[in-house]
């Protein structure tokens, strides 16, 4: 079952089952938690890439391994319909996500590809890590540019 299909099916189910609960939808908190986990690991390598802390191959590799795995967390129950920024408070997920699920899934796939490359390069020295880190940052940005609302 495709990413998009899964999201669509579960979105419909959630919308029917919990129309009034959208505001406190646990899916929103969980997906925000997942992004915190992304950043928790991404940030270690970012700090090294920017020279805020010294490069440490082992620490970078651990962070990259984590990021590889957390970006593979199944997304199917995290994006129910009606949890966009126009429908509820407390999210920056634009409605455009649900209008363009194929593209959204493709961009998430690009992030997964980038974190795989980062996992392969993180322990190979600062420069190798920086290049792969930059590609990962680009994958984050590609989605944020289109699908994330300004902070409130």
């Amino acid at each position: 079952m495709s990413f998009k299909h899964l999201i669509g099916t579960l979105a419909l189910g959630a919308a029917i089952a919990f129309p009034a609960m959208a505001e406190n939808d646990p899916a929103v908190e969980t997906r925000q938690g997942q992004f915190k986990l992304f950043i928790h690991n991404f940030g270690v390598m970012g700090a090294m890439a920017q020279g805020r802390i010294d490069y440490d191959a082992e620490m970078a590799q651990t962070a990259a391994d984590n990021l590889f795995h957390v970006t593979r967390h199944d997304q199917s129950r995290l994006w129910p319909e009606g949890t966009d920024s126009m429908s509820i408070d407390g999210t920056r997920a634009r409605p455009a996500i649900w209008d363009n699920l194929d593209d959204f899934a493709a961009k998430f796939g690009a992030l997964q590809d980038a974190t795989e490359a980062l996992q392969g390069a993180a322990g190979d020295g600062l420069e190798a890590m920086q290049a792969a880190f930059g590609r990962t940052a680009g994958a984050c940005q590609a989605c944020h540019e289109v699908y994330r609302e300004e902070a409130s």
Binding site: I39, R52, M86, H144, E150, S152
Partner: protein, 296 residues
């Protein structure tokens, strides 16, 4: 009674005449701009710092930043603005413009036909630029590709549709002095020039009054997003705790100190500024920190 009416009519004519005079376009002094020789290489830096392509490239996220076909839309309290084609196309762009026409457009908001531009176009910042830099910008932009996309008309509410009223708006809000004053280091001065005259940070990060003028007392203190939900964040004031390193790193990488990744309209800004020299980004950062301390 008859005399009263006459007097009233006379007052009305004087008021209308004054409004007409106040709303007249006021271009730069010819002698100041006609003899300038533009350097396209230097103009590229101005182009990047001033962020021209952020608004004037095609709407698609991945459009070519050097093809200034226009078409991006900007919702506001006054209606929706559509950025025009400013490519070198002779009919649909600015390919036929003289250097003087270009400089008056950028630095005074006046079209070659003598009409006022809306301040969605930040000539309100560019007015502080050095005319030589804008001559360089002209030279550079004349090297960019031509594109035949017709510009879209703005979609505004009455009375904002009457361009002449913008002359009065300019009388009230178009000013060429710096927002951040007082003793500055040379680096802060360079940063102020880049930020206040070119990059126009304050146009989004400073709140506006009901007429759309910037509230200088709250410089960089954050503002509602004019084109959607959410807010343009404060880059000054008590809640802003970034260091110069943080600001410079953000402008070159798009990464916040917490390693969140830039998105939204700021992604375009970073896309341009990251191509500047690091010394210039450090200068902007020094200025931002200097501005952040204003009013403390």
């Amino acid at each position: 009674m008859h005399r009263f009416l006459l007097g009233f009519a006379a007052l009305g004519i004087i008021a209308a005449g004054t409004a007409w005079a106040l709303s007249a376009p006021r271009p730069l002094d010819e002698a100041q701009i006609t003899d300038l020789q533009g350097d396209p290489q230097a103009g590229r830096t101005i182009f990047l710092a001033a962020g021209c392509s952020s608004c004037h490239r095609a709407p698609a996220r991945d459009s070519d930043p050097l093809i200034l076909s226009g078409g991006r839309s900007f919702a506001s309290d006054f209606g929706t603005f559509h950025a025009p084609n400013i490519s070198t196309h002779p009919d649909h762009g600015i390919g036929n413009w003289s250097q003087a026409e270009f400089i008056n457009a950028v630095m005074r908001g006046i079209s070659p036909q003598g009409a006022h531009y809306y301040p969605a176009f930040p000539y309100t910042s560019y007015i502080r630029a050095e005319p030589q830099d804008i001559a360089d910008l002209y030279a550079y932009m004349m090297t960019l590709p031509s594109d035949a996309t017709p510009s879209l008309p703005h979609d505004l509410d009455f009375p904002f549709t009457i361009r002449r009223t913008l002359g009065l708006w300019k009388t009230l809000f178009l000013r060429d002095d710096w927002a951040v004053t007082g003793p500055l280091t040379p680096q802060e001065e360079r940063g102020r020039y880049l930020a206040e005259a070119l990059a126009h940070c304050g146009e989004c990060h400073t709140p506006r009054n009901l007429l759309g003028g910037l509230t200088r007392a709250e410089w960089h203190r954050g503002a509602p997003n004019p084109s959607g939900t959410g807010r343009i964040p404060a880059i000054a004031g008590p809640g802003f705790d970034w260091t110069e390193f943080d600001v410079s790193a953000y402008l070159s990488s798009g990464l916040t100190p917490e390693f969140d990744v830039v998105g939204g309209t700021m992604a375009d800004v970073v896309g341009n500024l990251r191509q500047l020299d690091k010394a210039d980004l450090d200068a902007i950062a020094a200025y931002i920190l200097r501005a952040a301390r204003e009013g403390d």
